[in-house]
């Protein structure tokens, strides 16, 4: 079961960037900017795939 947490990281210029840290539950992690994570998880709940020609 995946567990996603959001992490604010202060960059060298003082700005803060938020990352999604996806815990795969087996010690494996994936890290990406929060915006990219949110974009990538939209799909599966969207419309029905187009199977036909």
């Amino acid at each position: 079961m995946e567990n996603v947490t959001f992490l604010d990281v202060t960059q060298m210029d003082g700005t803060t960037k938020t990352f999604a840290i996806i815990d795969r539950g087996n010690g494996e992690f994936t890290s990406m900017p929060k915006a990219d994570y949110e974009a990538s998880t939209l799909p599966s709940n969207s419309s029905t795939p187009q199977a036909g020609a």
């Binding site: 494996e28 890290s31 990219d36 994570y37 199977a51 036909g52």
Partner: protein
């Protein structure tokens, strides 16, 4: 055997005999399923890392569980194929789909062209779907992703695999699909899609594909590597994903980073090839920070992108605590299963 005979019914070639292995002929990356940087099997979920074989994505509609992708034996004397499987015991009937999105830059020469998608396919003895749709789709979004949109739209070419059509059996059968890419296509995708039947998945509820090739022309030729050679294919795969792993050296040092606080350090690394775009995501397992002078190891709580780059990304490495500011630390593999991956997949 002339190239004209092999690749097209319309193009002419007066250069004499040409072997059917021409770099770039196959528009699919890793079409022979030889590159598995992430490992040879994996569970597919709705997350962004639904890749197992390099550059081949898989997803189950609705983010349903119960799908794996793995390496299998290939067809036509090839070593490997790609298997999409409903996990034994799974009762979910959500659509299973897998395929490959072709980067817009690579798809551009396909615009308005007649193309042929060829592949070998076989089904497991417990395959529960009555048919499989194979579609070629195009979209008008730069580097668009098929599964991110629940399908792009209408197939510009497709075929249906089924036992009734005599093209879906438990032994490999070669199938070809030919169509014309829309002239305004910005991206092209090949997709396999099917719905498992109601009931419980058996141990062999899978679909295997091998020797996948998308080429210009109306005649399917012998499948070849897009990158020409194995090394070329690997470099092409690394345009989208690169993984350093501990399989060759369980305590490999990856590089040095400088602590800027008691819990964080910066580390800039160099990738073997320039990626498609700046690094979009990292995945990692079993890494540690290490101080050579003291022999002390520090657990890593997260790694994230500091300054993204397509060739030389800078990373934040966050530890629990105990680092000394401005001290150089090593980032290393803590075991043979350890890895750090950089993704610029579509």
């Amino acid at each position: 055997m002339s190239r004209a005979q092999l690749t097209s019914t319309v193009e002419q070639n007066t250069g004499g005999a040409v072997a059917p292995f021409v770099a770039g002929k196959n528009f699919l990356v890793n079409g022979l399923h030889e590159i598995w940087q992430r490992g040879t099997s994996g569970t597919v979920s709705q997350s962004a890392t639904a890749y197992v074989a390099d550059h081949w994505w898989g997803t189950r509609f609705g983010g349903a569980a119960g799908m794996t992708m793995s390496q299998t034996t290939g067809a036509n004397n090839l070593s490997y194929g790609l298997r999409a499987q409903r996990t034994a015991g799974n009762t979910d009937t959500s659509i299973i789909q897998f395929g490959q999105n072709i980067e817009s830059l690579h798809a551009e020469p396909l615009r308005g062209q007649t193309v042929t998608f060829s592949f070998y396919v076989r089904a497991g003895s417990n395959f529960s779907s009555s048919s499989v749709t194979v579609g070629l789709q195009a979209n008008t979004s730069t580097d668009g992703v098929y599964f991110a949109n629940g399908g792009w739209g209408t197939n510009f070419a497709s075929t249906t695999l089924s036992s009734a059509n005599s093209n879906l059996n438990t032994t490999y059968t070669k199938v070809t699909v030919t169509g014309t890419v829309p002239s305004n296509a910005v991206g092209v995708c090949v997709v396999f899609l099917y719905s498992p039947a109601s009931g419980t998945a058996g141990a062999a509820d899978y679909l295997d594909v091998s020797a996948c090739q998308l080429e210009i022309g109306s005649v399917a030729t012998l499948a070849s590597r897009a990158g020409g050679t194995f090394q070329g294919e690997l470099a092409l795969c690394q345009r989208y994903y690169y993984r350093q792993s501990g399989t060759e050296n369980a305590s490999m040092f990856l590089g040095y980073g400088q602590a800027y606080s008691s819990s964080q350090l910066y580390w800039t690394t160099r990738l073997p090839v320039q990626m498609r775009t700046t690094v979009q995501a990292l995945d990692y397992y079993g890494l540690q920070v290490y101080l050579n002078s003291s022999g002390s190891g520090y657990g890593i709580s997260s790694i994230s992108i500091n300054q993204s780059s397509s060739i030389s990304p800078s990373l934040f490495v966050t530890c629990t605590s105990g680092l000394s500011t401005n001290t150089m630390y090593n980032i290393f593999m803590a075991g043979s299963s350890s890895y750090l991956g950089f993704s610029a997949e579509l």
